[in-house]
């Protein structure tokens, strides 16, 4: 059953220079218990999607969608108060830049305790205070903080970025959410901690059956964990499918470029140029028409000024007029949207 179902999510940012379409007709469906990777360069609108799901938008954003459902709840028709309750209970979010997302004037332990919902509590009311503290310590141990006393008594600016991130993760999983949105959870960490956190997310998924939307710019990290992945470029979804489909049967040139951007150094000749896509991500003010990859795409042709339709082959979605590995598609039923 689909836990999160988004159809045609469009986010526009209203600026004095005009309206910018930061995310254009984004689709994603997460089934219960899966780990989905959302990959794209910085500025491709990954974090915007996450924030739109959480409903923490800014005043100058206009968020529209044909469908935005969490399980059997239609998020679009909720009042802000109802929506906040649903978010508080069902969705946990690990923010990018953890230190800025912790209140600088409050000790980390108190903030963590605040995130623990009361309705998990069973027992007498006088045990409540102690219970919260014990829960907070247990959560810290769970995310791999050994020295819980120091962390709980520190203000966020006294903690390293990695520790802040761990506190953030502890806060996100405190309410035992059904869906966990992890926005670049391992970016600020050294590799050892990074593996710890990824293992923790994996454990959460396997043991508590938490659905995870893992957002990252790093295809490698995502592929360690995610069963399915979605690739975004410039606010548009370019390809989506299982890990095997995306990695071994790539259809979109951008995904291909991302994969080749992780070179295997045993095979790269001495002083050879590394594989990169020419040019850079266009600014939001100067988006190309049609396929947004157009100007950088090695395979671009005249048709690319028309936005390619989303094609679906055996659950593998991509939007390209001239897909790679096109011979694999021959004889298969292709559904166009």
């Amino acid at each position: 059953m689909a836990l999160l179902d988004i159809r045609n999510l469009t986010i526009e940012i209203i600026t004095p220079q005009g309206t910018l379409k930061a995310v254009d007709k984004f689709n994603i469906t997460l089934s219960d218990g899966e780990v989905r990777g959302l990959v794209g360069e910085s500025g491709s609108g990954k974090s915007l999607v996450a924030k739109a799901i959480m409903g923490i938008t800014k005043d100058n954003w206009r968020v529209r969608a044909d469908r935005l459902r969490l399980g059997d709840i239609d998020l679009l028709n909720l009042t802000p108060v109802q929506r906040r309750r649903v978010m508080g209970k069902e969705i946990g979010m690990i923010f990018q830049d953890a230190a800025a997302h912790l209140d600088p004037s409050e000790k980390a332990g108190d903030q963590l305790a605040e995130a623990i919902p009361c309705d998990q509590f069973t027992g007498h009311f006088w045990q409540r205070f102690n219970w919260r503290k014990k829960q907070a310590i247990a959560l810290l141990h769970k995310v791999g903080v050994k020295d819980h006393k120091r962390v709980m008594n520190s203000y966020p600016f006294e903690l390293s970025e990695g520790l802040c991130q761990k506190v953030m993760i502890a806060m996100a999983i405190a309410k035992k959410p059904r869906l966990l949105i992890a926005d670049e959870p391992t970016t600020a960490m050294e590799p050892k901690t990074q593996n710890q956190i990824l293992r923790l997310l994996d454990k959460l998924n396997k043991l508590s059956h938490t659905t995870i939307l893992l957002i990252s710019h790093d295809l490698e990290t995502v592929s360690l964990l995610a069963d399915n992945m979605t690739v975004m470029y410039c606010g548009q979804m370019v390809e989506s499918g299982t890990r095997d489909q995306v990695f071994n049967h790539t259809h979109h040139p951008y995904t291909d470029a991302l994969l080749r951007a992780n070179p295997d150094f045993s095979q790269v000749p001495h002083k050879a140029r590394l594989n990169t896509l020419a040019g850079q991500v266009p600014l939001l003010h100067h988006l190309p028409i049609g396929c947004r990859l157009g100007p950088r795409c090695p395979n671009a042709q005249k048709n690319c000024v028309i936005t390619p339709p989303m094609q679906k082959v055996k659950g593998h979605m991509f939007s390209c007029h001239f897909p790679l590995n096109a011979d694999e598609l021959k004889g298969k039923k292709c559904q166009k949207k």
Partner: protein, 321 residues
């Protein structure tokens, strides 16, 4: 932390010393007798010693020691200032928070427009206006003074509200209410300007805090809007506002002098104005020194308070020192 406080107190001592130098020259210029004997430095030293011992000279008006008179009139001014400050915070913080939460809305511009209007009203005019309506026309509140002459209350602390409460006069309860009634109008008049300042500061700081990422993170925890305001917005906005309030203190003291003159409040402002009329130089110099020392001390104390209650400022402190 300890060194920071030492540094602040050091600053306080230096400022106060500079003030005594000014006071000394004021005095030696007008009262020629001091300048005649000995050299400048030994004279200044004598003057300093006298001040430390509490000897500010004798008023030419009543022949009383200046310090005794100041100890009677200054608490009256302080009582007025403190009550005005409490009123302006009690009114300004909620209104400023509401305006800051909805910055740019029509409610915000209404609040800011009204507060600008109130800010621009001259205090002496407002004072006579409220006096005319509330005291003279409608007879709700007493016109001038600090306490009805019927009550005889001994001055212990100099603060009338406290004195009436601890007095063993059988009517001390009534005297307390009477003192409260007398305090009300001057307090309202004096509180107008600092209230608009508190509203403005509060609005700016609240709207700054609202843009921060940790407020979004708090919203994603499922906290309600009230919980977010009480637990995250105010505790980050108010500490930033305290130093601005400390700077307001000297403005309030100045305004208090005008207010006292209109309401015949027996405070240091009225006393100083009378001394100026009577060309009582010892009193002017003593009063000036007291007010100045008080303002400087209040500023230093608010700065120390800011650092004590605000962990972010402490962080800045450690990074610098």
């Amino acid at each position: 932390m300890f060194f920071y406080i030492i540094r602040r107190i050091n600053l306080l001592v230096i400022t106060v010393t500079a003030l005594t130098v000014i006071g000394f020259f004021l005095r030696s210029r007008v009262a020629g007798d001091l300048a005649l004997e000995g050299n400048l430095f030994s004279n200044y030293f004598d003057y300093l010693m006298a001040i430390v011992q509490g000897d500010l000279g004798v008023t030419s008006g009543t022949g009383q020691p200046v310090l005794d008179e100041i100890l009677i009139v200054f608490p009256a001014t302080l009582e007025l200032c403190f009550s005005a400050f409490i009123l302006s915070i009690a009114v300004g913080v909620p209104i400023g928070t509401i305006a800051g939460m909805q910055r740019g809305s029509s409610l915000d511009s209404t609040i800011m427009g009204i507060s600008l209007f109130i800010f621009s009203i001259p205090v002496f005019w407002l004072a006579s206006l409220v006096m005319m309506y509330f005291a003279l026309n409608w007879n709700w509140l007493p016109v001038t003074g600090r306490l009805n002459l019927l009550y005889e209350i001994d001055s212990v602390t100099g603060f009338m509200l406290i004195d009436t409460l601890i007095s063993d006069n059988p009517h001390s309860q009534d005297a307390f209410y009477d003192a409260l009634k007398h305090l009300l109008l001057p307090t309202i008049v004096l509180a107008t300007v600092p209230t608009t300042e508190v509203i403005r500061q509060m609005r700016n700081h609240v709207s700054d805090v609202m843009k921060q990422k940790y407020i979004k993170a708090a919203a994603s925890k499922g906290l309600s809007k009230t919980e977010i305001i009480m637990r995250h917005v105010l505790r980050n906005a108010i500490p930033n506002m305290i130093p601005h309030l400390g700077l307001q203190f000297s403005t309030v003291l100045t305004t208090a002098m005008v207010t006292e003159a209109v309401f015949s409040w027996p405070g240091i402002g009225r006393w100083l104005i009378n001394s100026i009329y009577q060309q009582d130089h010892a009193a002017i110099q003593g009063g000036m020194l007291t007010v100045a020392i008080f303002v400087v001390t209040a500023n230093v104390l608010t700065e120390i308070l800011t650092v004590v209650i605000n962990p972010i400022r402490r962080k800045e402190l450690y990074a610098q020192s």
